[in-house]
Symmetry: C2
Subunit: 219 residues, 2 copies
DNA sequence: ATACTATTTGAATCCTTCTTCAAAAGAGCC
DNA sequence: GGCTCTTTTGAAGAAGGATTCAAATAGTAT
């Protein structure tokens, strides 16, 4: 028997398991048994915590989305320079590889949004939040005189998020020529035009986020 | 009994039915019975033509993709002016509404591409073809002196297709602020910077494609 | 008309999944 | 250690989908 756990803890596990099962089988195709197996439990145990599988799937998508967003925010929180911040932000919106589960979950969500209003709302909310995030960076850069925006910040921010999204799909679909590096460069090409800043690409992402004020060593 | 048809004809019907069923239920979740019902047949009849449902689903996706691409090509074939051609092309890559089944099928494909290599290839192929299509337009515009490209045509073309893709998802997910018109304007904003051309937005798409040489009436 | 053949149906069978629930088993408490 | 409450299992039953195939049917050819 699987080690017994407390309700909240187990529910957390189940959300994680659901995430994995969704990525593997698809949101609309995943079976209760598959989620149970991913969690190392039987279907009965899953049902004990989530009498309706759809509730669990929704929570999994919701959690995945929040995680994706929080992770990005954390990665850029300590960066003061708007140009560097923009570069890192662009990077953090792309999958690290075709097997990046966080992004694959979002792609999954995109596929289902057309036929599920709740998922559609979730995805739209994420998009809008990301747009706002970019807008802040752009406006800050402009205020500091670093950026000369080619148009209003909302338009640029919307396009930046759109580009990220789209290249996420390309990378997840294993485009033979467009990987994370190439995608970042393509987006940067737009970002340079839009900000009037040279935006040199960031070095390999550091293991830990740098403390504010320290400079990345040149390479 | 459903009216009997010839093999090729019925297979065509089935591909259409599968398309509809996929959009409604999801590529990975759709059941044989649902496809059969969409075609107005029984599951046995479907199996008679496609012993393996996956083959049918693949053909449906393939056909949907080809159709989408062909339709675009047809819409722009008769347009000589590169600027107008670019504007119309951008429009034709966006869903006409959140219920545009052609685009919804492609979104579906994007969701499944992460876990199905064949679908991934299909989607990648479409992307590359669209990039080439845009490249032709851009290069032609440059050769004629109409465009002053901000960078190499491949980069611009890749970004244009990426923007289209992404806004397709936004529209299908019913973003409350971004519909076909707004998306077109956002993409045009980028296209203007990239081509150095004012690219005034096209009037409402005409019922029939205009013959080459005729001018759209002003409004 | 008739016969022929390709297509479609519908019923039977087999499988898989969902759902329910009594019983088992861990975890915490006294 | 024994008691209690919560969590988990496993079995059983219900529901539905996939697959197979003989029989029916509708076009097509003669």
């Amino acid at each position: 028997m699987a080690t017994r756990k407390r309700k909240t803890e187990r529910r957390q596990d189940l959300i994680e398991a659901a995430r994995r099962a969704i990525v593997q089988y698809g949101t609309d195709a995943v079976h209760l048994n598959q989620v149970a197996e991913a969690a190392g439990l039987t279907s009965g145990a899953v049902l004990y915590h989530y009498p309706d599988l759809n509730d669990l799937l929704l929570e999994a998508h919701h959690a995945g989305m929040e995680r994706f967003y929080d992770l990005r925010m954390k990665k850029i929180a300590s960066i003061a320079d708007p140009a560097e911040k923009l570069v890192v932000t662009i990077r953090s919106g792309l999958p690290s590889s075709p097997d990046d589960d966080d992004v694959r979950l979002l792609c999954e969500l995109g596929g289902s949004a057309g036929r599920n209003r709740v998922y559609a709302t979730l995805l739209t909310t994420l998009y809008d939040r990301q747009v706002t995030m970019y807008q802040m960076i752009l406006e800050t850069g402009r205020a500091q005189g670093a950026f000369t925006l080619s148009g209003d910040s909302q338009t640029i921010a919307r396009n930046l998020v759109a580009l990220e999204d789209a290249y996420g799909y390309r990378i997840v679909a294993r485009h033979p020529l467009i990987g994370p590096d190439e995608a970042a460069e393509l987006i940067l090409d737009y970002a340079r035009q839009a900000t009037g800043h040279p935006l040199r690409p960031a070095p390999e992402p550091a293991r830990k986020p740098r403390a504010a004020g320290t400079t990345p060593k040149a390479r």
